[in-house]
């Protein structure tokens, strides 16, 4: 939520002050700020359009009442509003004092020059750090939602989004995004407007990112963005939700970064290659009755602190990186415990949970929470089934990256001895097992894919959640095994990782210190073998393409069900003439007819017609 306040001086509008906050709770169909289960906008909670909410530095009472009536925990929303208004007043008064000092005419001139300077600096920096040309990337985002509690029948059972990007860097430093081929909106909470697609891309992946705050203005090519779809193309279609818009727009930098990663290296400034593996993990959202006996609902912004992706010059950071802005952090446990009826049992770091590479990704962060109240529901959002595009987390689309492992998970709540220990004043350990909360395998026995919401907890239940690690960079064969921690106790997070993952073994001297490097394949099919040796399991790309076009691909698609692929392509065709031509040129003859029928359904009717049409096509295919 953003508040803006006009600044007048001598009766003239001289600028605007603005302040923005992430809100913990939005009053949607499920508690939390993202409302991951809101598939329609009608279930997203409180809507506030661009509207006037106060006069003379006072927030209107009717607006506050509206917030109180529509939010589970309005105290934070209203408090944030007051804080934003106060900060805007502070900015306004500072600007007015400055104008009193330097004069109105000078202010009007310098403020415009400042904006223009930011624009020029951005262009200059882009020219300095990149090579002009066309950069292409691709990523996916998908959720398995069939049979999940809380899902409405309007939504597709499972969905898979195709997210291509073509980015042109012009010789004068402009960056033009083209999203053609992305699918249109759907009945889920992760739809995205075209403007947000582009802004997120640039903001998170731009090598000239330090200029973001210098007042520069970026512009999306409106025509291209519109043609790309993959968003709520308002006002023509306004039904889909976008409460958890980050779920999709945040995974787009995965593709965008592949271009931004390459561009600086061409200009010999690899150090400026951005960490594309941003770290927004699945976010915990919860609600119920608070420890104060009132309604509560909140999104847990601890997700700010997952492992970051590796850079071209160093490892990623463990559990300590925020992708979207450097002011955020994971927050103190004690502060979070004041806001929710859950107590931390502990936080930890998962060894070897970042992506492998010359520089490894940052490790993931599991947390264990124990409920203080009955009837608490916990859920998690933004969990793509595709690790590469799991909300900015593990980026394999950038240069030679391997995605981080799928460590993000939530656990089935199990009861613990915490209430009894608390009543007795006895200490408790920092692992769920110390509270008798069951072993790790039991606690992990839940569906790890897609948005998820638990059955109501009771007091003492343990909820475990693990945030993402980051993607690695480069070939593990180029990694220094000593730096990897094979012989250094102080690098415990990766102790043994070299041997198990990278196929690297060190000679040891008589005292057990690491010596000469030896590269050994861990198995016959492992690709990480000594440079110069033939690579087992590899095939020419041309042969692989032939296989993909043939029986192998059809077998694999059939094994998974072709519906999602058909739907993905058909919906992209509607939005993208270029993608339509591309598909018709390459798809197999037997699938071409089915896709054409899907396309016709899309042209004629709604998303629901398409789903019904797919079911009919699948039945026909099965009968024949």
């Amino acid at each position: 939520m953003m508040d803006v306040m006009p600044i007048f001086h001598s009766g003239k509008l001289v600028g605007w002050a603005g302040a923005v906050c992430h809100e913990l709770e939005a009053g949607g169909i499920t508690p939390g700020g993202d409302v991951a289960l809101a598939q329609e906008r009608f279930t997203e909670g409180l809507f506030v359009c661009a509207e006037k909410i106060g006069e003379n530095d006072e927030i209107r009472r009717d607006y506050v009442i509206r917030c109180e009536r529509n939010l589970r925990m309005p105290i934070y929303w209203v408090l944030d509003e007051k804080a934003k208004v106060a900060s805007c007043i502070d900015m306004r008064e500072s600007v007015k004092a400055l104008i009193d000092e330097i004069g109105l005419d000078y202010w009007m001139q310098v403020s415009k020059e400042f904006i223009e300077e930011g624009r020029r600096a951005q262009l200059a920096r882009t020219r300095q750090l990149t090579v002009p040309g066309i950069y292409r990337g691709h990523t996916f985002y998908g959720h398995v939602t069939k049979g999940k509690p809380g899902y409405q029948p309007l939504g597709d059972p499972d969905w898979l989004y195709n997210i291509p990007i073509e980015m042109e860097i012009t010789t004068d430093g402009k960056i033009i995004m083209d999203f053609e081929g992305t699918q249109p909106w759907g009945y889920h909470s992760m739809n995205c407007t075209p403007g947000r697609h582009g802004r997120r891309h640039v903001r998170d992946a731009d090598p000239a990112h330090e200029l973001r705050r210098a007042g520069q203005r970026r512009r999306l090519d409106g025509d291209r963005a519109e043609a790309a779809a993959g968003h709520l193309d308002q006002p023509r279609q306004r039904d889909g939700g976008d409460g958890d818009v980050h779920g999709r727009c945040c995974c787009r930098p995965t593709a965008c970064s592949s271009g931004f990663c390459r561009a600086p290296s061409w200009r010999a400034v690899s150090s400026r290659r951005p960490s594309s593996a941003r770290s927004t993990s699945p976010m915990i959202e919860m609600g119920g009755t608070s420890q104060y006996g009132t309604l509560f609902g909140m999104a847990h912004f601890e997700c700010a602190a997952a492992g970051s992706g590796a850079l071209a010059i160093k490892d990623g950071l463990d559990t300590a990186y925020v992708g979207w802005n450097p002011e955020s952090d994971m927050g103190n446990i004690e502060v979070w415990e004041q806001s929710m009826p859950m107590l931390y049992i502990g936080r930890s770091i998962v060894p070897n949970s970042g992506g492998a590479g010359k520089y490894r990704g940052g490790c993931s962060l599991p947390v264990d929470l124990a409920g203080q109240q009955d009837r608490i529901i916990c859920g998690w959002s933004r969990r793509s089934i595709l690790r590469a595009s799991s909300t900015m987390a593990a980026c394999a689309a950038a240069i030679r990256r391997r995605p981080a492992r799928s460590t993000a998970r939530c656990a089935t709540p199990t009861s613990s001895s915490l209430p009894r220990r608390s009543a007795a004043g006895a200490p408790h350990g920092h692992q769920p097992s110390s509270l008798g909360a069951g072993n790790a395998a039991r606690r992990r026995a839940c569906d790890r894919r897609g948005p998820y919401i638990t059955a109501p907890h009771k007091t003492g239940d343990v909820f475990t959640h693990s945030y993402n690690g980051g993607g690695g960079y480069g070939d593990v064969l180029e990694r220094d095994p000593v730096e990897d921690g094979l012989g250094r106790r102080e690098r415990l997070p990766h102790q043994g990782g070299g041997r198990g993952v990278f196929g690297i073994v060190l000679d040891e001297d008589e005292e057990g210190y690491p010596g000469r490097r030896i590269w050994r394949p861990r198995s016959a099919t492992a690709p990480t073998i000594a440079p110069g040796s033939p690579v087992a399991g590899a095939m020419p790309v041309s042969e692989w393409i032939a296989e993909e076009r043939g029986t192998r691909r059809r077998r694999r698609l059939r094994a998974r069900g072709e519906e999602d692929v058909r739907q993905r392509h058909a919906s992209s065709r509607r939005a993208s003439p270029g993608f339509l031509r591309f598909l018709e040129g390459r798809c197999q003859a037997d699938l071409r007819g089915a896709w054409r029928q899907s396309h016709e359904l899309l042209q004629q009717g709604s998303h629901r017609d398409l789903v019904a049409g797919h079911a009919a096509l699948a039945a026909d295919a099965g009968a024949s």
């Binding site: 996916f140 898979l160 089934i385 394999a396 492992r405 020419p540 692989w544």
Partner: protein, 133 residues
């Protein structure tokens, strides 16, 4: 990282890379991927691995001349994720593009099975692209 960069940094970098490779064709654009350069032969410009393997004309998708390892099964994924949860191989596969001669890993992609391959390329100097799927 954000420190001042020498004006001739690019040319120093190219010179250092030129010393490192075993071939004489001058490098025009370094590090398209690490170890994958764009040198100029007397009559053509090609994408070339540090080992000397040529992937062909720079305007074509260099991956067409590469070898590939596709990790599309739990067993293959387990090799690089030995002790943690795996991606679902029915929804995602990892494609590793390597040099046919020296085995250098040039690119890794994570993709849904059946992804068209056209959009996984980059072209620094041309809008041309080659469809390979």
């Amino acid at each position: 990282m954000s420190a001042y960069k020498d004006d001739d940094r690019f040319f120093k970098y190219v010179a250092a890379l030129q010393d490192r490779v075993g071939w004489q064709d001058p490098i025009l654009l370094p590090g398209q991927r690490p170890s994958l350069h764009l040198p100029e032969r007397p009559s053509e410009r090609v994408t070339k691995c540090e080992c000397g393997h040529s992937f062909g004309d720079y305007r074509k998708n260099w991956k067409l001349g590469a070898h590939i390892i596709v990790r599309d099964s739990e067993e293959a994924l387990r090799e690089i994720y030995p002790n943690s949860d795996l991606p679902d191989p029915e929804w995602m596969e990892i494609r590793e593009f390597i040099c046919p001669e020296c085995g250098t890993l040039h690119e890794v992609e994570a993709a849904a099975p059946g992804l068209s391959h056209r959009r996984t390329t980059s072209s620094p100097t041309s809008k041309d692209s080659t469809e390979i799927g």
